[in-house]
Amino acid sequence: MFDDLSLLSLLIWLPILGGLWVLTLEESLVRPIALVVSLVTFLLSLPLYFGFDTTTAAMQFTENLSWIPAFGIEYALGVDGIAMPLIILTTFTTVLVILAGWEVIQYKPAQYMAAFLIMEGLMNGVFASLDAILFYVFWEAMLIPMFLLIGIWGGKNRVYATLKFFLYTFLGSVFMLIALLYLYSQADSFSILEYHKLAIPMSAQILIFLAFMIAFAVKVPMWPVHTWLPDAHVEAPTGGSVILAAIMLKMGGYGFLRFSLPITPDASRELDWLIISLSLIAIIYISFVALVQQDMKKLIAYSSIAHMGFATLGFFIGFMIYQETGSLDGGAMAMEGGIVQMISHGFISGALFLCVGVLYDRMHSRQIQDYGGVANVMPRFAMFAVFFAMANAGLPATSGFVGEFLVIVASFKANFWIAFGAASIMILGAAYTLWMVKRVFYGEVANEGVASLIDIGKRETMILTVLAIVVLLFGIWPAPLLDVMHATVQNLVEHLSVSKIPL
């Protein structure tokens, strides 16, 4: 029944149009309407999961319209087992973000809600695009609402943060555009799936790979192009941080899977050491940096970088596993681990930023030293915070464990020391997360500000409960999440084992 509904178009344009509609509404209607739009979008994204054919790696729910025929640019949409979960993650997170901004945002609420809805549509567009130009348009357009969110509703230093954010990501995108144009010149088409079939000589592959890598590495972000993220997070309003961490960072990982690996498999194999090293640096180096942060948001931002290191490690370690074992299975496991890590990180980091938001709304401080003994006055909130902190530390039976587990055990097949380095997050992740919990939540009530805190209300409890259930569910039973990606990942891994260098 959904076949002729143009589901993906609906998921892109409904929130965008809904966002524009919200702009025109009077203030009392803004919040309910925004919520309804986001809820409907979320519900409409569910058929993607339930109607998904898990046996095929082909694109599903495809749509194809001619857009700019002179250049062969098409309005082509479709999802596979990698994009589909990310779209649902987007629609799900948007609902929570709208709820989270319900009371706090008193300044221009219509614009605030509209920005999130429009951004939701654009992000869905990024994940659903099968045409390079369409992809690029969404990719760039998505930056605008985020730029505004930080710039208008952000903290004191927001101008510096927005500029840094914009310049970093924009610089990256320019390289990507060059690569896309080069590919167009070779394929005579902007279809991403056509790009996958291109035979490209090694020297060109290396250049394309590096161009893509710059764009995606900034987004992930990977060391050493990560320093925009902590600044952006610190200045962003809570909802902005949630979207940034939960969805936007995933674009980088998604880009590696959609572009770098299938288009330039030989260059990926040649340069896998580069990504693997940068991932390990992200995991270890950034964890140490996270340990000494004084600002809760910065700490979680650095933690995000370290956790995303698992995603990139999982995507590229497969080449080494193949070399060691001669089998593709380990690579598939690592890649699925990386994808699960992206999804799970969306929930957990989102939840943690919401938790910081809860405190910030009440105390207007993100400094760890301004807190202490919060568990005394906000016991219910403390329970959630400790739970999500444990999930962030990769506790089994939470979704945070699944991806890390798969990547670590798969990496072991490639090289003991890579697994050793990756597994260090078991210690470091627990250290920085729980040390923060100790200083913020435990101990005697630190000051009068903390003493006057009021525990979370129904709305906040509901948001955190939903997230907690999801985090637990995917930890206890990740099979349904993994099942949708098997065919796609298997296909991708097999694709990688075949050289594309023209003979």
Partner: protein, 649 residues
């Protein structure tokens, strides 16, 4: 049977949710949680009966597929055989005792429901751990008990020492888990499966890669790598040197959990795990030697520390470390059965000692310093008798439960020594000497608490009275097995076929041909050194703490160097604080302030500045005066022309 197993694990989980999340009253909280554990206990007894007496085959049941990835399917499920059912009974029994005891002990605490919720959750996690049939679920339970332990050590989260201790406990355990997860990864690499039955089957057929290359060119035995990595996990959880440092600090938690988690059950998870993995450990002589040496170091050196402690709970905590060392020595000597046997007897008498200490602490109004006790015998008769039984069991007085298990371990160590296993000689003498040390610190504690001068203040003395029945009944119920369990179980556990099919040993140290019944075993012991060493230990304690109580202080003065070394716990905590906690934080600061802020952001902001400066310079050229532009044009024309002219010439 599957439903029975599900009921056993889920009952405490439901109890935990009820008491923790539904906001019920105190009465409902303790009723629900105690009933839940009682259900688990009774059903465990039923399963025990079915397997041991009715002769049911071990159950290996798959519950559901956790995930599938690559070519691996990871299923969660239960393996219930003689080994796990023994653990189930011990865990649920001690847990039940602790639950009942808590009603009295935590009576006035505002976090009453939360506490019951946690200990129910703990019981669930521990049962999942011991009943697992695969490495994934083992790790789930492993981490879950760690989290509950974290929550319970920090139960009084306003207490700075408690929240320091719980963070430390979690992080040190994570160091062990770090090894453990790499061990699991190694198992997966070698066997392409994480299911016990499959892995053990392949291991016995020798179907796994012989070696693994860790450093280029040097090949290591695969099995040694697997076993040592797994054992590192056990070292964290079962507090073996040098990862033992968290256990003494964990005493900051309420006493019931010290008994349940940090003596009887969770800390023995490592011992259980190695016994469960006996088909793997038996294949690596090197790993077993490693286990043996670590266990011996822990048994002897941690026992010594108990002698200088003044906090009654800390004495018992160091004693627990030392006894865990004994169990580890048993594992390293391939006497897994003896390790599990000691695990069981220790669970009873150590839980008893902790709960007894808790009863003393209650009577003393939460005073734990033994220097302020003394002469409590006449005020706390039931506590006195039960602690005496526990102490005698701990030092291995002939006939008491601890006697059998400890003697078995010493014999096993001797057996390994004879078989020339590397490190066994050291281990044998370590566990032997520890018998004296154990007796000394145990009766030092006993005499300081119950005998001699009454050193408490007047107010405390006036309020001294025996604890309520909810406290004393569990003491009595634990005293019975502490006294008797050894006599009844040594024959089947060590010399019979109880563990057949669950534990694998190549060269069993316990030869049934040399065994002629329990009485003979006891009689034989009087011809061996351990009994006399224990007697000497008690004698020393009598002399120093009853006859000449002024001597220990003088002795401490005279041997200040050694005394300080012991009081400072071999300076290990200081080293860890300085090197790990401090050093790694400094490393973080350097990486952040220099790596991120100076170098990377410096570069970024620097290039932004560079662009700014260059554009400022270039802007100077854009003057807006026509004659400037005309001059530039003419100049350009001249340059182009000269290139054209001279270039072609």
């Amino acid at each position: 049977m599957q439903n029975v197993f599900l009921a056993i694990v889920l009952a405490p989980l439901i109890g935990a949710i009820t008491a923790g999340l539904l906001g019920v009253s105190r009465r409902v909280a303790h009723s629900v949680t105690i009933s839940a554990v009682a259900i688990s206990f009774l059903l465990s007894l039923y399963v025990f009966y079915e397997i041991i007496f009715a002769g049911a085959a071990p159950f290996n049941i798959s519950l559901y597929t956790w995930l599938e990835s690559g070519n691996i399917r990871l299923e969660l499920g239960f393996l219930v055989d003689s080994l796990s059912v023994l653990m189930m009974v011990v865990v649920t029994f001690v847990s039940l005792m602790v639950h009942i005891y808590t009603v009295g002990y935590m009576h006035d605490d505002p976090g009453y429901q939360r506490f019951f919720s946690y200990i129910n959750l703990f019981t669930f996690s521990m049962l999942m751990l011991v009943m697992s049939n695969n490495f994934v679920q083992l790790f789930f339970g492993w981490e879950a008990v760690g989290v509950v332990s974290y929550l319970l050590i920090g139960f009084w989260f306003n207490k700075e020492t408690a929240i320091y201790a719980n963070l430390k406990a979690f992080l040190v355990n994570r160091v062990g888990d770090f090894g453990f997860i790499l061990g699991i990864a190694a198992v997966l690499m070698a066997f392409n499966s994480l299911d016990y039955a499959e892995v053990f089957g392949l291991a016995q057929q020798g179907q796994y890669p012989e070696t693994i290359s860790l450093f280029s060119g040097i090949e290591w035995s695969m099995m040694t790598v697997i076993c040592i990595l797994l054992f590192i996990g056990a070292m964290g959880k079962s507090a073996q040197f040098p990862l033992h440092v968290w256990l003494p600090d964990s005493m900051e938690g309420p006493t019931p959990i010290s008994a349940l988690i940090h003596a009887a059950t969770m800390v023995t998870a490592g011992i259980f795990m190695v016994a469960r993995m006996s088909p793997l450990f038996e294949l690596s002589e090197t790993a077993l030697s490693f286990v043996l040496i670590i266990g011996a170091i822990t048994a002897f050196f941690m026992g010594l520390l108990a002698i200088v402690q003044n906090d009654i709970k800390r004495v018992i905590a160091y004693s627990t470390l030392s006894q865990l060392g004994y169990m580890t020595v048993a594992l390293g000597a391939s006497a897994y059965a003896a390790g599990i046997f000691h695990l069981m007897t220790h669970a009873f008498f150590k839980a008893l000692l902790f709960l007894g200490a808790g009863s003393v602490i209650l009577a003393m109004h939460h005073e734990q310093d033994m220097r302020k006790m003394g002469g409590l015998k006449k005020y706390l008769p039931i506590t006195y008798i039960t602690i005496l039984i526990g102490s005698l069991a701990l030092i291995g007085a002939p006939g008491f439960s601890g006697f059998f298990s400890k003697d078995a371990i010493i014999e096993a160590a001797y057996h390994a020594y004879e078989a020339e296993r590397f490190g066994a000689g050291f281990a044998y003498y370590a566990v032997l000497l520890s018998v004296f040390v154990t007796a000394l610190y145990t009766f030092r504690m006993f005499f300081l608490t119950f005998h001699g001068k009454e050193r408490m203040d007047k107010h405390t003395r006036e309020h001294l009275r025996e604890s309520p029945w909810v406290v004393t009944i569990p003491l009595i119920l634990l005293a019975i097995p502490s006294l008797l369990i050894g006599i009844f179980t040594i024959t089947p556990l060590l010399f019979g076929h109880y563990f057949d099919g669950a534990i694998f040993v190549n060269n069993n140290p316990f030869n049934p041909e040399h065994y002629h019944g329990v009485l003979n075993f006891i009689g034989h012991a009087f011809l061996q050194p351990p009994v006399w060493l224990a007697a000497a230990g008690v004698g020393t304690a009598v002399f120093f703490y009853l006859i000449r109580p002024e001597l220990p202080g003088i002795l401490a003065e005279r041997t200040k160097l050694i005394y300080d070394l012991l009081v400072e716990k071999y300076y290990l905590d200081r080293f860890n604080d300085w090197f790990f906690a401090g050093g790694l934080r400094n490393l973080g600061s350097v990486l952040w302030k220099i790596g991120d802020v100076k170098v990377i952001d410096g570069f970024i902001n620097g290039s932004a500045h560079l662009v700014g400066t260059v554009s400022k310079l270039i802007r100077q050229i854009q003057t807006g005066f026509l004659y400037h532009y005309a001059f530039a044009m003419i100049l350009g024309l001249a340059v182009l022309l000269s290139i054209f002219v001279f270039g072609t010439a």
